[in-house]
Amino acid sequence: MIKHIAWTSLLLLSASAAAADTPASFMARYAQQAGVAVTALSPARGEALYRSEHPGRSGGAQSCASCHTANPKQAGQTRVGKRIEPLAPVANPQRFTDAAKVEKWFRRNCMDVLQRECSAQEKGDFIAWLNQVK
């Protein structure tokens, strides 16, 4: 009986561990989609993407940092003043743990800031940078 329970909980545990996403699992997935090794993802390129400024709809320059602030360990603010929890996993362990959420926000925010979707390589670089922010 005890053996049975132990096996069941082990099975459940491994299933939930596999289903839960982590920054590392996103990096692996995006690298695979981009056809490169995980080690080819570049934190430096990720940071450059985060800070790069693009012409905004209202004329001024905009970047990821416009709403998320220059420091990804800090909370940001939406245009109507609502708090945005920090992007860096070190400051907010909830980040990059939910595939639907991650894809939704990459889609929306890349369209807003870059006027196009981000490539798998860019997404991988982006998370590679944030994941090593201490």
Binding site: A15, S16, A18, A19, A20, D21, S25, A28, R29, Q32, R57, S58, T78, R79, V80, G81, K82, A99, A100, K104, R107, R108, N109, M111, D112
Partner: protein, 176 residues
């Protein structure tokens, strides 16, 4: 290695689909908040609260008519200058809830008040309704653009209990 990754992928997909299946059919029932106050009934709807309130206060559906909500939800990829697009299932789920509790749904006194004064057919902004304009006619134009307020979309800047659905005048404090 490839098979291991693929296995993880399949498990993750199955996991997220089953999660989705559990979270999608969320409650859309309008209920009073128990205090007998039916002016603006407290509403609960998972997707409405999660999605709309990730960027701004989850504005009450009673503040705009059904036709307005259809316009808002039909143009989420250009939502007041931002891309707020959703997957089709979530979008439809939220629209159903908004329509069921809209100003012209007859489900709240708040909605009735908004409709009594409605001059436009399907305004996109709550701030365009005659009800809103009259309610705020004592607030000078310059106050709205203060840095601490930002815009009229930021209810909670002055209505300190807006998150709880409380908009009474005695809870208002206009920031400097």
């Amino acid at each position: 290695m490839n098979y291991v990754l693929r296995g993880i992928g399949v498990l993750a997909t199955v996991g997220s689909i089953s999660l989705l299946a559990f979270s999608l059919p969320s409650g859309g029932e309008a209920r009073g908040d128990g205090g007998g106050d039916d002016l603006m009934p407290r509403l609960t709807h998972t997707a409405w609260q999660q999605e709309c309130a990730s960027c701004h206060l989850a504005y009450s559906p009673a503040l705009l008519p059904r036709a307005s909500w259809r316009r808002v939800m039909g143009g989420l990829d250009q939502h007041f200058g931002e891309n707020a697009s959703l997957d089709p299932a979530t979008q439809a789920d939220i629209l159903r809830f908004l329509e069921a509790n809209a100003a012209d749904s007859g489900r709240s006194r708040m909605g009735d008040k908004v409709m009594q004064r409605m001059e436009k057919t399907a305004p996109l902004r709550i701030t365009e309704t005659t009800w809103f304009v009259r309610k705020h006619d004592q607030v000078p134009r310059a106050t709205w653009s203060r840095k601490s307020v930002g815009s009229a979309a930021n209810c909670a800047a002055c209505h300190r209990q807006a998150e709880k659905g409380v908009f009474d005048e005695d809870t208002v404090r206009i920031p400097k």
